[in-house]
C-alpha cells in the first residue's frame, strides 16, 4: 500500500446487494462514489445520486441540425447556386427533398447519440485507477463493485473501510493511485 490511495473498492455478489449498498453509502453522505456492474442495473444510477443525463438533449440538437443541413443543402444547390430546369420541375421541388432531409436528420442524430454518450462518459479512458484492483476484472463479467473515492471530503481510509465492511461485501480492496 505504498502508492497513495485513490479510493476503496467493495465487491458484491449480486446486483441487489450493490444497489442496496450504494443507496446506504450515498445516504450516509458519500457523494464521490461510483458503482460498477456487468450490465445496466435499474435504479443503480439514482442510488449513487446520478440524475441529469444529457444524451437526449445532444441528440435532439444534432437531429435538428441535420434536418436543417439536409433541406438547406438541397435548396441551396437546386434553387440558389445553380438554378436549372430539371424535367420541367420547379427549382424548389420540396417533395423530392424530403427524403434526404430525413436521412441527414437520422445520420446526425444517430452519430451524436453514440459520440455524445462517449464524450459525456469521458471515454475513451483506457487507464483508470480501479483497474489496479485485481478482482476488478470481474466487474465486466459477474461481479458488482462499489467505489468510494479518496477525493470525497467525507473520505477517511479507516473510517470508510469500516463503513463499507458494514455493507457486507465479499471483499474490500484499496484502489492505489498508481
Amino acid at each position: 500500500m505504498s502508492a497513495p490511495l485513490n479510493g476503496l473498492l467493495a465487491e458484491f455478489e449480486s446486483a441487489s446487494d450493490l444497489v442496496a449498498a450504494a443507496k446506504t453509502t450515498h445516504r450516509s453522505g458519500y457523494n464521490d462514489i461510483e458503482a460498477y456492474s456487468p450490465f445496466p442495473v435499474h435504479g443503480l444510477g439514482e442510488a449513487i445520486g446520478f440524475t441529469k443525463n444529457r444524451v437526449p438533449l445532444v441528440v435532439l440538437i444534432c437531429g435538428i441540425l441535420g434536418a436543417c443541413t439536409g433541406y438547406g443543402l438541397q435548396y441551396w444547390v437546386s434553387a440558389i447556386t445553380y438554378p436549372i430546369n430539371v424535367g420541367g420541375r420547379p427549382l424548389n421541388s420540396w417533395p423530392s427533398f424530403v427524403i434526404i432531409t430525413f436521412e441527414l436528420t437520422v445520420l446526425f442524430a444517430g452519430i451524436s447519440a453514440t459520440v455524445g454518450m462517449l464524450v459525456l462518459n469521458d471515454l475513451p479512458r483506457p487507464h483508470h485507477p480501479v483497474f489496479n484492483v485485481p478482482q476488478f476484472e470481474r466487474a465486466s463479467q459477474d461481479r458488482f463493485f462499489l467505489c468510494v473515492f479518496a477525493a470525497d471530503p467525507k473520505f477517511n481510509a479507516s473510517e470508510t473501510r469500516r463503513f463499507l465492511e458494514g455493507l457486507k461485501p465479499i471483499s474490500i480492496a484499496d484502489v492505489p493511485d498508481e
Partner: protein
C-alpha cells in the same frame, strides 16, 4: 407489422425459453467469450475462410476486368439498362434489413428474445450492406467519377441532382450503413470490455482494451449508455423502414410499367424483412450447431423467425396479387395489362412462376409448428426464400424493362459469365466476413444475455425492470 405475430407468440407458448435454464452470469460470459478467446482454430474454419476468400478473389478479377472494359462485359443493353448489378444491390440491401430490425424495432418493443440474436443479425446487416454498396458504384459507366454523386464542393461549381431517386439511395444506404455500424459498435463496447478482462494474451488484451475504450461499467456510464442505445433504436426504426422504401422509389418514381406503382414501398420493406430473416436463419442454424449455442439460440428463436417470415411472405404475396389486380382494373388496353400479360406468358415466364413457387407457395408450410422448429427444414426453406427474393428483383427489373411502351425497342437480357462472377463473388465476400466475425467478436451480446438471467434483476425493487427478466423469471 411483422411483430404482431411474434408478440402474440411470446405470450402463447412458454415451454421453450429464449435461454435454456442452468446458466449463471459466469457461465454465459465464459461460454460466449471463450469462442473468441479460448477455442482453438479448427481446420474447418480455416478451410472455410480460404475457400470464401478465393471467391472474393474472383470478385476482384471480375471488377478489375469491368474497370478495364466497361459495363459492356455484362448482359445489359438498351432497353434493359439495369441487370444483375441492381438486382443484387436490391437483394443485398433487403437482406441487410433483418439486423437493424431485430436490434432496433424489437428493442423498442421489448422483445427479450432478440437479445440472443441481435448481435449476429447486426453483423450480418453490415456485411450485407457492404456487398450491396459495391454495386451502385461499379455499375456506373465511369466508376472513377462516382464521387460526383456526393455533394462535394468542386471546380465545376456543379452539384448532384437531388430529385433523383438514385441520389436518395446514395444517402439512404450510406446513412443506413453508418448508423448500423455505430449501433453495432455501441452494443459491442461492454462486451469488448469483457473480452479485454478475460483475455490471457497480452496483445489481445491490448486490442480489445483499445476497442473497449476503457469501459468500466460505471453506473453513470450505463445510464447514458442505455439512453443512447434507446435513442439509436428509436432513430434506426424509421431509418430501416425508409431504406427499402427509398430503394423502391428507384422504381416507383419512374414511369415504366411494372415500376410505377404506389404499393412498392411497403411491399419492398416486407420483402426485405422476409429475405433478411431467411438469411438470419441460414446463418444462425449452422452456427448454433457448430458452436453449440443451442441453449442460447433456442428453437423458440427459430420458431419466431419462421413466423416473421410467414407474415412478411404474406405481405409480399399481397403485393404480387395487387399488381395483377391493378392490371385487371386498368383493363386489357392498358400498358399494365400488357406488362402482367408479358410476365405470365412472356419470354421470362419461367423466372416469374419460379418466383411464386419460392416466395409464396413454399413458405406456407411454415404454418406447421413442427416444421417451424426443425432447423434442417427451416434452413432449406430459407434458402428457397432467398432465391425467391432474388428472383423477385430479377422480375421487377428485367421483366419491366425488356418490353415497355414502344415495341420497336423491345429486347432481351442474358447475363454473362461476368454477371455471375460478380454476384457469386459478393456471396464469397459476405461469408468471409461472417467467418471472421465468428472468431474475433462475441456472436451473442453477452451483457444482454446476462439481463435474461433471473439474478439480473434487483429483487427488492417493486417497479418493473426489463420485462425480459420478468418473463424469464416466470419460466424458471
Amino acid at each position: 407489422m411483422s411483430t404482431d405475430p411474434t408478440i402474440a407468440l411470446a405470450e402463447e407458448d412458454r415451454e421453450i425459453p429464449v435461454l435454456e435454464p442452468g446458466h449463471d452470469m459466469a457461465s454465459v460470459t465464459a461460454k460466449i467469450s471463450d469462442i473468441v478467446l479460448e477455442r482453438p482454430l479448427s481446420i474447418a474454419w480455416v478451410a472455410g475462410v480460404m475457400f470464401c476468400s478465393g471467391i472474393v478473389l474472383m470478385l476482384g478479377t471480375a471488377v478489375t476486368y469491368l474497370f478495364f472494359k466497361g459495363t459492356g462485359i455484362w448482359g445489359i443493353n438498351i432497353p434493359v439498362g439495369w441487370g444483375f448489378a441492381i438486382v443484387n444491390f436490391v437483394w443485398w440491401i433487403g437482406i441487410g434489413h433483418a439486423g437493424t430490425l431485430i436490434s432496433a424495432i424489437l428493442h423498442l418493443l421489448r422483445q427479450s428474445w432478440r437479445n440472443s440474436i441481435n448481435r449476429f443479425a447486426e453483423a450480418m446487416t453490415l456485411f450485407a450492406v457492404m456487398c450491396a454498396g459495391l454495386f451502385p458504384l461499379i455499375h456506373t459507366g465511369r466508376p472513377w467519377l462516382a464521387y460526383w454523386m456526393f455533394p462535394i464542393p468542386n471546380t465545376m461549381s456543379y452539384w448532384p441532382q437531388f430529385r433523383s431517386p438514385l441520389l436518395w439511395d446514395v444517402f439512404a444506404v450510406s446513412t443506413y450503413g453508418t448508423i448500423s455500424l455505430v449501433f453495432w459498435y455501441t452494443g459491442l463496447i461492454p462486451d469488448l470490455a469483457t473480452l479485454r478482462d478475460r483475455a490471457s494474451n497480452k496483445y489481445i488484451r491490448l486490442i480489445y482494451g483499445a476497442l473497449a475504450m476503457g469501459w468500466r461499467g460505471e453506473a453513470r456510464h450505463w445510464e447514458r449508455y442505455e439512453s443512447a442505445y434507446l435513442l439509436l433504436a428509436g432513430l434506426s426504426t424509421p431509418l430501416v423502414l425508409s431504406v427499402h422504401t427509398v430503394v423502391s422509389f428507384d422504381f416507383a418514381i419512374s414511369i415504366m410499367p411494372g415500376w410505377h406503382t404506389t404499393v412498392f414501398p411497403p411491399y419492398f420493406v416486407a420483402g426485405a424483412i422476409y429475405s433478411g430473416f431467411a438469411m438470419v436463419l441460414i446463418l444462425v442454424i449452422p452456427v448454433r450447431a457448430v458452436y453449440n449455442l443451442r441453449d442460447m439460440i433456442t428453437e423458440k428463436h427459430l420458431d419466431i423467425a419462421a413466423k416473421v417470415m410467414l407474415a412478411t411472405g404474406l405481405i409480399v404475396a399481397y403485393g404480387y396479387i395487387l399488381e395483377i389486380y391493378m392490371a385487371w382494373y386498368a383493363g386489357p388496353k392498358s400498358i399494365d395489362w400488357f406488362t402482367v400479360h408479358n410476365r405470365f406468358f412472356g419470354p421470362y415466364a419461367g423466372p416469374y412462376w419460379m418466383l411464386w413457387v419460392c416466395n409464396i407457395i413454399t413458405p406456407q408450410v411454415l404454418w406447421i409448428k413442427s416444421i417451424r422448429r426443425s432447423p434442417v427444414l427451416l434452413f432449406l426453406i430459407s434458402l428457397v426464400v432467398l432465391g425467391g427474393m432474388w428472383l423477385e428483383r430479377f422480375v421487377i427489373i428485367i421483366l419491366s424493362l425488356h418490353r415497355d411502351f414502344v415495341p420497336s425497342s423491345w429486347g432481351m437480357y442474358y447475363p454473362t459469365k461476368w454477371d455471375w462472377m460478380t454476384y457469386i463473388g459478393t456471396l464469397g465476400l459476405f461469408t468471409t466476413m461472417i467467418f471472421l466475425f465468428c472468431r474475433v467478436l462475441p456472436m451473442i451480446s453477452i451483457f444482454e444475455i446476462r439481463m435474461l438471467l433471473p439474478e439480473s434483476h434487483v429483487k427488492h425493487a417493486a417497479e418493473s425492470h426489463a420485462p425480459a427478466a420478468q418473463l424469464e423469471g416466470k419460466h424458471l
